[in-house]
């Protein structure tokens, strides 16, 4: 009895020359094996010839599109991968340089920041000083280490508090042209987008919301004078405010 697996291997060409010769001899004397062999061969030929080919042009196009996408993605990933350290390094350098510049220039504030600071001025719980209470006012001015030149300017009220977490004093002033507010902050600040003006100490002019302002730094403190008048008028008042 011939092993049927040998017959299949015979048809598939998987036997060695020696095995084939042996099997040929055995098949000659075995009619059932001959029939089986013929049947296997017929089926094999039948499948090879009659199995229909599959239409797959559009599927192949999709595959080609996918391969293109893969290449594009790899290309982008390659660039990012190659220059990732450089990008990170550049970003880090920008942060360091920015930090150093900021440290060198002290606190720099934009006019929007100043307006925000002025609005968010948090006074102490002590009531504002009423005009006429000279002693209290003088004490407050002394603490603020400034005095307003006597003459046409009157101090309406004064209050202490913080601006941007720094100690600050706010004075409400009045002269013949109207009211003003003077903010004094116990820190040296830079004024980013205010215009530089002539004068000593150097002054800067700009807008805080609808109001004009001038700002300057003196003796390690920052001053901002705000009022409903032009920059020249504010500059003139500012020049009359002297630190004691």
């Amino acid at each position: 009895m011939i092993d049927p697996l040998q017959l299949h291997a015979y048809v598939d060409g998987e036997l060695t020359a020696e095995e084939k010769v042996t099997l040929d001899a055995e098949i000659l004397n075995d009619q059932a094996a001959q029939q089986e062999l013929a049947s296997i061969q017929s089926l094999k030929v039948f499948l090879a010839e009659k199995v229909p080919s599959v239409e797959c042009k559009s599927e192949w196009k999709d595959c080609v599109g996918r391969l293109k996408e893969i290449d594009k993605t790899r290309h982008v990933e390659g660039i990012v991968g190659r220059y990732a350290w450089a990008l990170c390094g550049a970003f880090f350098c920008m942060i360091v340089v920015g930090g150093v510049a900021r440290r060198g220039a002290g606190d720099r504030v934009q006019s929007d920041d100043l307006a925000q600071m002025a609005l968010s001025f948090r006074g102490s719980n002590r009531p504002a000083v009423v005009p006429g209470e000279d002693k209290a006012l003088q004490q407050l001015l002394h603490n603020a280490a400034i005095s307003v030149a006597p003459g046409n300017i009157r101090v309406l009220s004064a209050a202490r508090g913080t601006l941007n977490d720094r100690p600050a004093v706010k004075l409400c002033l009045r002269d013949a042209k109207g009211d003003m507010a003077l903010m004094m902050i116990q820190a040296q600040m830079g004024f980013e987008d205010l215009q530089s003006m002539e004068g000593q100490p150097p002054m800067y002019a700009g807008k805080l919301g609808d109001l004009n302002c001038v700002a300057w730094v003196e003796e390690g403190r920052s001053f901002v004078l705000i009022g409903e008048r032009d920059a020249t008028g504010l500059h003139e008042v500012a020049s009359r405010i002297k630190i004691q």
Binding site: P4, H8, D12, E14, S53, D62, C63, L67, G78
Partner: protein, 188 residues
Amino acid sequence: MLFGKRDKRDAFERQAEKVFPSVFGTALRLTRSREEAEDLAQEAIVRAYEAFDRFDGSNFKAWMLRIVTNLYINKYRQRQRGPQLGSLDEEGVIEPMAAESEVPDRVLFDNTVGAEIEDALSKVPIDFRLAVLLSDIEGMSYQEIADATDVPIGTVRSRLARGRSMLRKALTEYALQEGYLKKGASND
């Protein structure tokens, strides 16, 4: 660098385009769903492209069919629930094909058309069908089938013999149903 990649893709596409009908046909006969076959074939192409640097250059078609078969076995078959008919029959006795041939091969094969063959193939359990597909339709050797399906050569031989026998039986049943064969027809 970019040109190198382009050349690589061109080389891959040239070879892959030639064997794609085999890849897609095998995928279709395994999944029996055009949509799934498209996914399977596309994934096989992508995998092959990614591994093209490692292709030894010997038989591209066998390599591609190995990828598509492995993908199917690993991914798609995991989704199938229930017992695998193929594994149940693995150790059974191999029935000789000719013994049941009250049906003459000539009559059977001459009258069978493509769609009927596909139907009959789909009735053969997957492990056996895969062996028949790879051997008789794609012309792979036992060793290549063993590599593709990750089974020993002995198992391939056994599956192939059993698969052919099952396929013939399915074709005969089909022919009897269709009426161009009658029970008890002789081999003459």
